[in-house]
Symmetry: C2
Subunit: 275 residues, 2 copies
Amino acid sequence: MTADKNAPVGVFDSGLGGLTVVREIMRNLPDESLVYFGDTARVPYGNKSKDTIIRYSGQIIRFLQEQNVKAIVVACNTASALALDTVEKEIDLPILGVVRPGAGMAIRTTRNKRIGVIATEGTIRSGLYHELICAEDPEISVFEKACPLFVPLVEEGWNKDPVTEEVARRYLKELLENDIDTLIMGCTHYPLLRTLLKRVVGEKVTLVNPAYETAQALKQLLEKRNLFHEPVSVGEEAGRYRYFASDSIEHFKDFANRILPYDIVQAEQVAIEKY
Amino acid sequence: MTADKNAPVGVFDSGLGGLTVVREIMRNLPDESLVYFGDTARVPYGNKSKDTIIRYSGQIIRFLQEQNVKAIVVACNTASALALDTVEKEIDLPILGVVRPGAGMAIRTTRNKRIGVIATEGTIRSGLYHELICAEDPEISVFEKACPLFVPLVEEGWNKDPVTEEVARRYLKELLENDIDTLIMGCTHYPLLRTLLKRVVGEKVTLVNPAYETAQALKQLLEKRNLFHEPVSVGEEAGRYRYFASDSIEHFKDFANRILPYDIVQAEQVAIEKY
């Protein structure tokens, strides 16, 4: 079967955080059509079990396949860390997560071979960032910290708040004491805290945004498989980006319009547990 | 149909917070058997839509009916506020939520007729506390505030942390400026912040815990319907309390054993979306 070049790329996340990945894909692959699914009725994934995340991811992938996507991006660190290796065995489509691109960039960035990872409990518990980095370069030390309060703080809109800064100082204390020079923002919400995190970690530490690296990895994947969308004209945004969510799309639209360069035109609720 | 006196009472919540209600029922109705369901695979409910909460609550009630419960307690403020009036029409069993008992106690407590309510976004948006209080006494002013960071702070274990206190001061500022003398802790996690909240609101403000009031309301309901369980001996705890959750029960057990007077013996995962 030859995949259709002009088919959309499917992107999914536990909720809205994955839109930071969508944003990077829009910037770096402006011709691609996208179908986004946010599992807003079951969000968050970060504190749930591996089996549950695999089941949820499987349902979403079946939904995306029904939309005839040509490739899938798991724009959620927790699902990438806990479910990707299982679900990729079950489908024919090319699929990529955010963890591997993020880990690769951190390896290329570190000078002193000391990398920090901040993420949800599920991602940290999986140990996947650690594993991928050490498989590539066993001399690198990886220091990890689950930061469960960051997502609710971002969702409360306290991205630049002194409370969030105090929480960040506490979460990052041990990583900084371990003299990291590179920090992976291992949850799709965290790039929205970039300015504050930069202030806390200081000039010496480079922040790695897996969302950006994932857009680059997608570009390479589409190129390799000769799956680039034909060039489109500016102004054709509306029909090319479709959004789906498992909960009501009202709140979804508000948040999405704050993050994305184009206003959301088409968004629909999906009964995802039926898939 | 005569209900079986010795059947268990069903209690459910979006996750683990409802165990504060279970604790009060155990203390106040020590003879009753309980079946608890925590929707840990889809937690939280506080920021999700009314339709989704109604669908989830319906599934859980069908599961509890299958366990032959004699009555149901909706031990979740959000589900009580958004779903109870819909789901109670569909079942024959007596069912009660936490909002009405909490509102009733606040009305009996206030002296200056100024009541504050803190809760999830869903509960506040429903306006149910406001509505029930003003229906009973239109002279009472109700001041409400959604506090979405409290649940994650409790789950992080920062119940007595200066960060949590700063967050609480900010959330409660306007309510205190409005000179409330009574504050309803309108989310089942909040009683775990009682000490800290008491410090923030000061001596003049009385905290109302709907969990305690709900246990009292359940007692009245069982009495009225002649549904009290026959007396049991101490030491028979094990078989009488059964716990179910939609996600893995491991984390569930850890948290529950911190809150409840008896260690959890029997706990099982349920595929709730099939109900």
